[in-house]
């Protein structure tokens, strides 16, 4: 019972709030109102007509009676008069009829069964019809030839209520009937409207409940509804499209996130790896019993591992710079062989340690490129290092470079290493992806190298691709540089050595250091003194100005983050002194962002070094303050093993 009632109330509620229900309500209300208005109009008209016709009917009756009763009155024939009145039996509506004589006395009468008899005397009669409730009374004079003979009075039912009741009965019937008819008709007609809406609602429900965006509403021929349906479907298209795109993006993000997690784990591992040997070496160095050979070994270990960590971090910084669009290319003209030589030099230690055989094939004609030499050689050396890493001891590595018909430069590094699975190739150049190398875990990396190659090459408008016949079949990486970076040259212009730096003639001997970190400044001072410089270590800006004014050093190496007087301020003050105007100012700071360098330059610094400073780098800088890029290229020429170590950045 309760559920029955609930289902009904639910149905009513749905009817009330649905389009269908509203249409039904409108149709039913319209029908009822129309019938009622029509009915009331008909009723009032009918009542008017009834009254008029009844009155005229009654007066006709009275006239006939008066006429036929005239002789009876004239000749005082009461019987005939009564007989005439009795003829009213044929009219059931007439209740009472009476004829009064001239003096108003009742002369003849007719009383229907159950009706009240007429008064015996009629004094001061009002002629004409008079309606009182359910009764109508008509009083007319009886005249002949202008002679007053008497009065006739008719009393009849005036059945308005009965008529109204009958009418309402009819109205009720008509309303019920027309509502039924209109319900049926509207049910048929409203399908045109509600069916497409229902279909759309169904589709919408399906979409919401199943998250399935494929269903579409049936197009409709009706203009408005068709428009709505089309818009709805277009919306679904859009939603479907966006949902798919969103899912793909989510997937990609999740994948990237996963790779980043892996990367972090690898990073931690890679950064931690060098610490163990360093710790051992330090322990060894601390041993008093260690002899000079052992100490030398310990120093070598520490130097190597520090180098390794530096490389890692450099790679990391480089990649992040590329991804953030912060890396700027410093393009210059450079010979292809020198680029390749630099790259080979960088990778040589690893290849030699694994006894790889390197074959190099270069084009016969001289090729000059308009590229950033550091970045391109870095890309090539990365490929070589990569090849060495994944090639077993004694394997073969081939480096070839050639110009194709369209004057593009294609440079390939092929190896006889472990090769690549076809699945691995598409993702090879993505950041943090790395081919698992259980054999050679120690050589593992962060999976940055190839991403770096790709980024660097693409910055030059080139492409990089990988090929492998399969696992164990070796692999080949090819860098293509567009014809636009390949310069057309003649042989005469390709004299070697142009890329060779010209060592700076001058030699600055006096160096002033300023750093509030005593250990740091003392250590640096020691290193520089050992390198043969005249070094003055100061620990504050004031002290630096004092000493500077006294000894007039050629070079100032200033820490930025000092109390009282910051490195920036100190630099500008020094620049204002006569003794400091032409000095070489080098900033030494933990901050290496572009803005920091910019600020250094504004403060008057010539160079900006990032802590921890590499003594070699500093020494080199001091030795030849050559303008970019030759000093950086010299880095590779001088046998540096790092593939991507950034040189000191000139400002």
């Amino acid at each position: 019972m309760m559920s029955w009632m609930r289902s009904w109330s639910e149905r009513l509620r749905r009817l009330r709030y649905s389009v269908r229900g509203k249409l039904v309500a409108v149709v039913v209300a319209t029908t009822i109102i129309a019938v009622l208005v029509a009915g009331v109009a008909m009723l009032s008209h009918d009542l008017t007509v009834y009254r008029r016709s009844w009155v005229s009917d009654l007066s006709t009756q009275a006239n006939i009676l008066a006429l036929s009763t005239t002789p009876a009155l004239l000749f005082d024939d009461r019987d005939t008069a009564t007989r005439n009145l009795n003829a009213l039996q044929a009219r059931p509506e007439v209740q009472v009829a009476a004829i009064y004589n001239r003096s108003g006395a009742l002369y003849a009468r007719y009383v229907r069964d159950g009706a009240n008899p007429p008064p015996r005397q009629l004094s001061h009669p009002t002629f004409g019809p008079r309606i009182a409730g359910e009764r109508i009374q008509l009083i007319q004079p009886i005249m002949q030839k202008g002679e007053w003979l008497g009065t006739i009075s008719l009393n009849a039912r005036y059945d308005v209520q009965g008529r109204i009741n009958a009418y309402f009965g009819i109205f009720g019937f008509v309303i019920v009937l027309s509502v039924l008819v209109s319900l049926v008709l509207s049910a048929v007609l409203q399908r045109v409207i509600t069916d497409p809406l229902d279909a759309m609602a169904d589709v919408a429900r399906q979409v919401v409940e199943r998250e399935d965006y494929t269903p579409r509403a049936e197009p409709s021929k009706d203009i408005e509804i068709g428009l709505v349906v089309a818009a709805f479907n277009r919306m679904l298209d859009e939603v479907q499209h966006r949902t798919i795109a969103l899912k793909q993006t989510q997937e990609a993000l999740r994948e990237a996130d996963r790779r980043k997690d892996e990367f972090l784990a690898t990073l931690a591992h890679e950064l931690r790896n060098p610490l163990a040997p360093i710790r051992h070496a330090v322990k060894l160095l601390e041993l008093p019993a260690a002899d000079e050979r052992q100490r030398q070994w310990g120093r070598d270990v520490i130097a190597r591992q520090v180098q390794r960590m530096a490389l890692l971090l450099d790679d990391l910084l480089e990649v992040s710079r590329i991804t953030r669009g912060r890396l700027e290319l410093k393009k210059t003209q450079v010979d292809l062989p020198s680029l390749i030589a630099a790259a080979v030099e960088t990778a040589r230690p690893l290849m030699e340690s694994k006894q790889h055989r390197l074959e190099t094939r270069l084009p016969a004609e001289p090729v000059r490129l308009q590229v950033d030499p550091l970045r391109i050689s870095q890309a090539l050396s990365n490929l070589l290092t990569n090849a060495a890493k994944y090639t077993d001891v004694g394997g073969r590595i081939a480096l070839t470079a050639a110009l194709d018909d369209e004057h593009q430069l294609a440079s390939s590094v092929a190896d006889s290493g472990i090769g690549l699975s076809p699945q691995a190739i598409p993702r090879l150049f993505e950041m943090f992806s790395q081919v698992a190398s259980p054999v050679d875990r120690a050589e593992g990396g962060l999976g940055i190298g190839l991403a770096l190659v790709k980024g660097l090459v693409e910055m030059h408008g080139g492409t990089v691709e990988a090929y492998s016949a399969g696992l164990g079949c070796g692999s080949r990486f090819t860098i293509r540089l567009p014809a636009s970076v390949v310069l057309k040259t003649n042989i005469a212009a390709t004299a070697s050595g142009e890329a060779q730096p010209v060592p700076h003639a001058g030699h600055r001997s006096r160096i002033l250091l300023a750093d509030d970190n005593r250990d740091a400044v003392d250590m640096l001072a020691l290193v520089l003194k050992m390198a043969g410089y005249e070094v003055y270590a100061t620990h504050s800006g004031h002290e630096a100005l004092d000493v500077g004014a006294r000894v007039r050093p050629e070079v100032f190496i200033l820490d930025i983050g000092m109390p009282e007087i910051s490195g920036y301020e100190l630099a500008s003050r020094i620049r204002r002194q006569t003794w400091g105007r032409d000095a070489l100012l080098i900033a030494l700071t933990g901050w290496g962002q572009r803005e920091d360098k910019e600020r250094s330059r504004e403060a008057g610094f010539d160079h900006h070094l990032t802590k921890p400073v590499d003594p070699d780098q500093l020494e080199r800088l001091l030795r030849d303050i050559a303008p970019f890029p030759t000093d950086r290229l010299r880095g590779t020429d001088r046998g540096r093993t790092g593939p991507s170590r950034p040189g000191p950045s000139p400002l």
């Binding site: 002789p71 009876a72 007053w148 003979l149």
Partner: protein, 205 residues
């Protein structure tokens, strides 16, 4: 019916009749107590003229003559009633006559109570002339009159002979027939009968 019988008519009824018939429009100042049977009869006779049609030749004169045989009282009443009124568009004239000859140019002749045989001869002497003969006898119609007064329940009524009317060339209106106590010489299937709801049946009661 006799004159003495008429005296029995209750005063109240006569009063009512008088009031009904004469009060205002006849412009006759009849005192209630002075209403007599004669005056009622006179009024009836005057009323009959509305319901009877005479043939055209009978109305050629400028006067409408009513002859009263040997009854000066009624003649006086009648004269009083018709005074100043026109009948059939003619000036009404009432005269008392004593012989049938005198009735020759009259349109109505009233034969008061008297010798039935004399009346019969009188009527026969009219010889079918268009004269409405009104009698006041028990056997008035047998004497040959067209309308005969009678008293029923102390009320003045009259009977009509269509045979006599036809003989005289007079046409009696069905309305008059409808209030007649008896109609003689009429077919039952007559349309008049239908219209007046067969007073014949009443007459035979």
């Amino acid at each position: 019916m006799s004159r003495t019988a008429a005296k029995h008519v209750s005063a109240a009824r006569v009063l009512a009749l008088a009031g009904l018939l004469f009060a205002s429009s006849l412009a006759v100042d009849v005192a209630a107590e002075s209403v007599s049977e004669d005056s009622v009869k006179a009024a009836f006779i005057y009323r009959f003229t509305d319901y009877v049609e005479w043939p055209a030749p009978a109305l050629q004169g400028t006067q409408f003559r009513i002859a009263v045989l040997d009854d000066a009282g009624l003649a006086a009443d009648l004269a009083h009633i018709v005074a100043g009124h026109q009948i059939k568009g003619r000036t009404a004239q009432v005269k008392v006559i004593h012989r049938a000859k005198e009735a020759a140019d009259a349109q109505i002749v009233f034969l008061g109570p008297g010798d039935a045989e004399a009346h019969r001869r009188f009527i026969a002497g009219l010889n079918g002339q268009p004269v409405l003969v009104v009698t006041d006898e028990d056997q008035g119609l047998e004497e040959g009159s067209t309308v005969n007064f009678m008293l029923i329940d102390h009320r003045l009524r009259f009977e009509i002979s269509l045979t006599a009317a036809a003989r005289s060339g007079l046409r009696i209106s069905s309305e008059l027939l409808s209030v007649a106590a008896r109609v003689e010489g009429r077919l039952r299937s007559n349309t008049d009968c239908l219209r007046s709801r067969c007073p014949m049946t009443v007459a035979t009661q």
